[in-house]
Structure formats: C-alpha cells, structure tokens
Symmetry: C2
Subunit: 164 residues, 2 copies
C-alpha cells in the first residue's frame, strides 16, 4: 500500500472520478452483476444508493478506488454489513483493494456491525476470491452457474462472510 494513500468519505464532487472507475468495470461485465450498458446516472445511483456510505481512496491526490458500506439486510439481519469495492484499472496490483477492505472492516466495526457478507463474488474473479480470503472471509455459499460471464459462459458465484 502506498504511503500516500488516503481513504475518505465521498462527496458529490467525486462523482466524475467514481464514474471513471465504475464505467470500465461495468462495461466489461466480468465482476459485477450490473448491466454492461448501465448509464452513468444509474451506476452512480446504485453505488450511492440511500443507505450506502461511500468512500474514495486517493493516492497522491488522485482518486484510484471507491467502496460502499451498507447493512446487507434490515431488521433481524441489520447487524451484517455488505460492501462493494472497485479499483481503477491503472491502479490494480498496488494493494488498493486490500487497503479499502481493511478500512471498511474498521468502519463496519465502528458502526456496530457484527459481521460482513459479500453476496456475489464471481468465482472466475480469482484475484478477488483470494484477496477476500486473505482478509478473513470464508466461502460460505456457492451459487451454481449464477453468473453468465461474457467470455467464460456460466460460472459460479460465492457468498463470502466473516465476523468482525
């Protein structure tokens, strides 16, 4: 992780930078169950949904990553958090996702969550699966052929979970 990395809450002036990170990932359609032709407005409305706390990661002043934190369900399930993370393609491999995950685990604990769940980690996204395992998440569910990958066809998705 870069010593110049800072993670802070997103403000509306960050929308352009967030969209620059989201767009190529959603267009590729390989890692998130989001329509590949999603509009800027719909993508930002999803990422910044009501109930999402959104953060950005700045490396030497440039926004290179973003994540959201929310309660995965309500009522009797509201003690389990959920996050989505995304790193700019030019910043891959520099520990940004790991740094954002660590930050999100701290934020979730501060907010009183007792666990965190990822609902849909696509099995072919092996780098992500390994990273979440290194961050303490276990595969607790396997959704058979639940994702249609644009290059690989039907692949499994994992449910991953850890206590906080």
């Amino acid at each position: 992780m870069s010593p110049a990395l800072a993670i802070r809450p997103a403000v509306s002036a960050d929308d352009d930078a967030i969209w620059r990170i989201l767009e190529p990932t959603f267009r590729a359609g390989e890692t998130y169950p989001i329509p590949r032709d999603v509009s800027r407005a719909d993508a930002l409305a999803y990422w910044r949904s009501s109930g999402h706390a959104v953060y950005v990661a700045e490396d030497a002043g440039a926004i290179v990553g973003t994540y959201y934190l929310r309660a995965n369900t309500k009522g009797g399930g509201a003690h389990v958090a959920n996050c989505g993370y995304m790193v700019a393609s030019e910043a891959q491999g520099r520990g940004m996702a790991r740094a954002m995950c660590a930050h999100s685990l701290d934020q979730a604990r501060e907010r009183g969550f007792a666990a965190m769940q990822f609902n849909f980690v696509i099995a072919s996204n092996k780098r992500a699966v390994r990273l979440w395992q290194a961050c303490g998440f276990a595969i607790v569910g396997r959704l058979p052929r639940a994702f249609r990958h644009p290059r690989l066809g039907a692949v499994d998705a994992y449910v991953m979970y850890r206590t906080l």
Copy 2:
C-alpha cells in the same frame, strides 16, 4: 391445496389485503429481515418494489397469500429469480405456500429465468426450510448467526437455490 385456490397478479386494490398478511409476520420479526416496526407504506413499497411481479392467492374469494417474483441481480446474474412468499396466519398448513411456490416456478420459467435463489431463509423457520427442500431447493450456503431472532437470539440463515 384447496380446489378453490386461484393465484393471480395483484392489483392496487389488493393493498389492504396484502398488508393484512404482511403486518403480523413483519411485527413478529421471526422470518423476514425487515424492521418489526415497519410502516404499512414501507412494507408495501418493499413488497411491491419496482421490478417485483406481485401475486395474490385467493381461496374461495379471500386473499390468503401473496408472493413476489423478481430478478435476484442484474447483468450477468439476471437469469436467476428470487421470490418472497407469505401466507395469512389463519390459512397456514393448507398448502398455500407450496401452491404459490409451484406457481412462481412456472412464472419464472415462463419469464426465461434459469434458476431461483432464496437469499435469506432463517434456519429456525424449519417448516419453510423443509418446504423449499420439498420444492426442489438445496441449501447452497449458510450464513452463520446472520439473523437475530427475537426469541431465539442469533441463528443461521440459509441461501437456497434450484435450477428451473
């Protein structure tokens, strides 16, 4: 299943009947991860969310059950359906949930879905777990202590899945 049972799309005039079914279940807080003090407006907004197809089950003209059908995710995951079912307390044990599930599986097939997933079946709701297994669903994931049951404390929730 009663020979007088008919399942049809819900119309807005059914809102009162749907709320009469939802309210006691949400207030009990034992089977859905929804706030126990949810308002009528929020409960109906949830049940009838954009993208939900909502049905009601009428037995001899009285609405005794309701369910929704939706895509569980979008994009590469949009071929997997999700449903929520609820039966009026006075109509429990008469096969209504099973009839609605069978109806929903047909509806999902007609709409081109390839699988159906239940995201959060609370393990203490043993009647539901057994019924979904009888309807062809397998437990594909276990979320440890993901639900705080008002009487039983922390209990697991299951992810259940079947192909169509």
